[in-house]
């Protein structure tokens, strides 16, 4: 074998060893922390002292990550619960933690005026990771009387979160369905859907294609009748916690396909109100209140606060054009999952909108995209135990 070949083989072997060595070791680690797609914000790491001797200090920390595939979270609060008889060291001293309020700025943006056992951050961007930690002092030997103590400490995590579910709904004319059947082609087609991260998982349950029928298919001089249909969604709590607030569901209706100034799809006020839906504008004017997880608040204000600067860019046009519908699902009504049913209709329209346009333009398949936004405050809890064992002499 030539010297050149030997050297090349050697280099290849080293390269392969390094690459695969890394991959084997990486795969074997049990410390890998990932968020599943269901999670909005998750605790990806905890550091707990398992055991402390009386009077000694230890750290407890939580690493919290906002799922990269999700959206920004706001008002993220992490609290320890059931900390007594441990004390927390902060602001230069040890504190009894049941109700004492922090008297220094704290490390995170919302820390001030929170109890020592809590930390708060106003906003977390997707992919962002924060580490919250507390320095705890174990009760003294006298306090535990030299008798072992195994104390459960809980952590609570709560945050405002929002998710977006986008779905293209396929509308197909009756004629097209018949044609496909006769031609042996499939007519059961579904539009694609996409969903971001978040504990409340939305799945589209609308039967597709939505098959519309013209009253006078061959007469293009007449205006067609409107065609009612409905959208269905299933919302499931896939997380390990619970929504603390009401769940706000916003559905953005598509603009007109043929003339963007006109609407192809609208909701009938009376029909949709039977299912708890209303136009966003109406909700604003009525001053509807929502349970936000930290008290009652005007829904519109709460939504705008949660979306912040993005509110106008996301919903401004839809509100102006009256295409934004809203439903408030009460927290008390939501145990683990709920279904949403939204009655809509394809308007009769004219030559450039709705059913009439579909007929006149002889369009067999039309796709309309619907965006659904969910907004809620979510809460999860976890726990750990710290044992305090006396030093025996």
């Amino acid at each position: 074998m030539m010297k050149k070949e030997i050297i090349t083989i050697g280099l290849c072997m080293i390269f392969v060893s390094m690459i695969l060595g890394c991959s084997f070791l990486g795969g074997g680690s049990k410390n890998e922390t990932k968020l599943t797609v269901e999670q909005g914000i998750g605790v990806v790491g905890t550091l707990n002292v398992d055991e402390l001797n009386p009077g000694l200090d230890g750290y407890i920390s939580l690493t919290v990550r906002n799922n990269l595939g999700g959206e920004s979270a706001s008002k993220v609060y992490v609290s320890l619960d059931n900390v007594e008889p441990f004390k927390i060291f902060e602001c230069g001293a040890f504190h009894n933690v049941s109700s004492e309020i922090r008297d220094c700025t704290g490390e995170f943006s919302l820390d001030k005026y929170l109890p020592y056992r809590s930390h708060g951050e106003s906003k977390m961007f997707p992919g962002q990771e924060l580490q919250f930690y507390w320095r705890l002092r174990a009760p003294s030997k006298t306090e535990i009387s030299n008798i072992a103590l195994r104390h459960p400490i809980y952590y609570d995590l709560e945050y405002d979160y929002r998710t977006t579910f986008t779905q293209n709904i396929i509308f197909m004319s009756q004629q097209e369905v018949l044609r496909r059947r006769q031609a042996g082609e499939t007519y059961q087609v579904e539009g694609e859907a996409s969903s971001g991260a978040g504990e409340l998982r939305v799945t589209g349950a609308t039967q597709q294609p939505v098959t519309y029928q013209f009253m006078n298919p061959s007469d293009i001089t007449t205006t067609e009748s409107e065609f009612p249909f409905s959208l269905s969604y299933a919302v499931t709590n896939e997380g390990k916690g619970l929504p603390l607030s009401d769940v706000v569901v916003l559905v953005e209706l598509p603009r007109g396909k043929f003339d963007s100034a006109k609407k192809d799809i609208v909701a009938d006020n009376e029909t949709m109100s039977q299912y708890g839906w209303m136009k966003f504008k109406d909700m604003e004017s009525e001053g509807t209140n929502c349970s936000t997880g930290s008290g009652e608040k005007n829904c519109s204000t709460w939504i705008q606060e949660t979306y912040g600067n993005e509110f106008n860019s996301l919903f401004g046009t839809a509100i102006t054009e009256d295409r934004l519908l809203v439903k408030i699902v009460k927290r008390t009504d939501f145990i683990n999952e709920f279904s949403l049913y939204l009655p809509l209709k394809l308007v009769a329209g004219d030559r450039t909108s709705g059913m009439t346009a579909l007929k006149n333009l002889q369009i067999p398949i039309q796709i309309y995209g619907f965006k659904m936004h969910n907004m809620y405050r979510y809460f999860t809890e976890g726990s750990s135990e710290i044992a305090v064992f006396p030093v025996r002499v």
Partner: protein, 526 residues
């Protein structure tokens, strides 16, 4: 051959090769002879491969050499293919076959990796089972060693324990024995003549628990059939005769898990005593067995702590509705390294704060090799937070000088001579402070003798009265095991979502441990 097809073929062959080698190492043996020939130009490589895996077993050897042989065949094919593929390019001139080998190695590694992930164990049932099967399989085949080598050719790969996630440490006291102390006696020689001072008794006391024994009493005597006929005319310091043939020795400061020995020499078997025991049937020429017995007794402590977790009703209900409320482990953490297990239970937890009454079930069991000393009083202190109220065991009165056992009898609860055997008392808070916690009180004096952590616990309990706690003390632990119940009231409002308070039980129990008999035979030489 188009490159895609070429690589597809190559991948297929390599996968098949990897699969065969893994699952049928024995097949390698059969191929060994064929392979050896085919691999002759590459035997050097095969030897190197053998060294990697440390393959001593013939199957392994066969597998490796077969692998090398197969590699050789593929090498040849690849060499040709490589020449065809890359030969036209000057920069690959002479290197084409090398790249081919590299690709084969890469593919084999991918197959190894795929198998290590359980990729070929798809029918293994649950994910866990499949993983376990894969793991077991890999532990036993040479391929695992090769994998290990590739994972870490420099041999510094962490063992599984080294990169395990932070594990929960079990309590350090969990391995401590459930004993207080043991006593052992050895006498030498085993046979003596009557009235001859030649017996030496070595008594070893070992503190098996986790608390220092400040004072331990040893009662040394001999038993039937010869009666109390072992005599010691001279006794070491700390020992004294009780009656003829019965001696008491005090030893002090036996530290946890350590032993102390007491040696008493110059003992003899009193012939007159034995003769009196046997009466007219006594024949001094026939050896008589004398069983030497020792009993150790002391006060030993036991303690236990029960966490009672309460939760805000609104919060708890929310968790319950969402099936998120986790039940807490029931029962108390009790101290090991003692012979008495004290257990407590306050029922299902956490308890909603709308529940304002609960109950405490207290039970105790002697798990040691000795017995509770029925001639002395055990003391149990139950410390409850102010917000739980006093734990007054059912059937017992709430103040000093009250009693159970049927009719009213005036009995003083600090009469230590009476309490243990006849009456059960319970004294709480102020009554406790003005009685058992007073220095001149007989109970206090009895405890004081024990000193060490026993007295510490006693003082601790007495000191808690009025400092946010209720303390009740009883002498009710008079059996080897039993249970008592007391009501708890929950009055404390919860500031956070949850709150945990502790009920603590400390027992100071009189304990007797008997040593196995030691035998001495005595006779008169005629």
């Amino acid at each position: 051959m188009p490159p895609v097809k070429f690589f597809a073929n190559l991948a297929g062959k390599a996968t098949k090769f990897g699969s065969n080698v893994t699952s049928k190492a024995s097949a390698g043996m059969q191929k060994y002879q064929q392979a050896k020939q085919a691999a002759s130009p590459y035997l050097e490589k095969a030897e190197a491969a053998k060294n990697w895996v440390g393959g001593k077993a013939s199957a392994v050897k066969g597998g490796v050499v077969a692998g090398a042989a197969a590699g050789g065949r593929y090498y040849g094919a690849v060499k040709d293919a490589g020449h065809r593929m890359f030969g036209g390019l000057s920069i690959f001139k002479g290197v084409g076959p090398v790249i081919g080998i590299f690709l084969i190695i890469l593919l084999i590694m991918v197959v190894f990796w795929f198998m290590s992930k359980g990729g070929l164990q798809a029918t293994g049932g649950s994910e866990y089972t499949a993983e376990k099967q894969t793991e077991t399989l890999f532990q036993n085949v040479w391929i695992r060693r090769v994998e290990d080598w590739f994972a870490n050719p420099f041999g510094v790969r962490a063992t599984s324990g080294e990169y395990e996630e932070t594990s929960t440490t079990s309590p350090t006291t969990s391995t401590a024995p459930n004993q207080a102390f043991t006593v052992e006696i050895k006498t030498t020689p085993s046979i003596v003549q009557y009235n001859t001072n030649g017996i030496t008794a070595v008594i070893t006391t070992k503190n098996e628990g986790t608390t220092i024994i400040k004072e331990l009493k040893l009662n040394i005597t001999s038993e039937q059939p010869a009666g109390k006929c072992l005599r010691f005319d001279t006794l070491p310091a700390g020992c004294s005769p009780v009656v003829a043939g019965e001696y008491i020795c005090n030893i002090s400061d036996v530290y946890p898990l350590s032993s102390k020995q007491l040696v008493i020499s110059g003992g003899y078997i009193d012939e007159t005593c034995v003769g009196d025991t046997f009466g007219t049937s006594f024949d001094p020429a026939i050896p008589v067995s004398v069983f030497v017995n020792v009993k150790g007794s002391t006060y030993y402590p036991a303690s236990s702590r029960l966490a009672v977790e309460r939760i805000k009703t609104a919060y708890g209900t929310l968790l319950i509705q969402n099936s998120l409320l986790m039940q807490q482990q029931r029962g108390a953490i009790y101290q090991t390294g003692t012979a008495l297990t004290l257990d407590m239970d306050a029922g299902e937890q956490p308890i909603l704060d709308s529940v304002d009454q609960g109950g405490l079930l207290f039970s105790w069991t002697n798990v040691g090799n000795g017995k509770m000393d029925s001639t002395k009083n055990p003391f149990l202190f139950i410390v409850t937070p102010d917000s739980f109220g006093q734990c007054i065991f059912q059937g017992l009165g709430s103040t000093q000088y009250e009693y159970t056992l049927g009719q009213s009898v005036d009995v003083v609860c600090d009469n230590t001579a009476v309490l243990g055997s006849k009456y059960k008392c319970i004294v709480c808070d102020a009554s406790l402070q003005t009685s058992w916690c007073q220095e001149g009180n007989p109970v206090y004096q009895q405890i004081e003798k024990s000193a060490g952590s026993i007295k510490e616990s006693f003082d601790w309990a007495c000191g808690l009265v009025g400092n946010g706690y209720h303390v009740c003390a009883t002498n009710g632990l008079t059996q080897e095991f039993g249970l008592m119940t007391c009501p708890l009231v929950f009055t404390e409002p919860i500031n956070a979502n949850r709150i945990t308070r502790y009920v603590t039980a400390v027992a100071l129990y009189p304990y007797v441990v008997e040593a196995p008999y030691s035998t001495v035979q005595a006779f008169r030489q005629v």
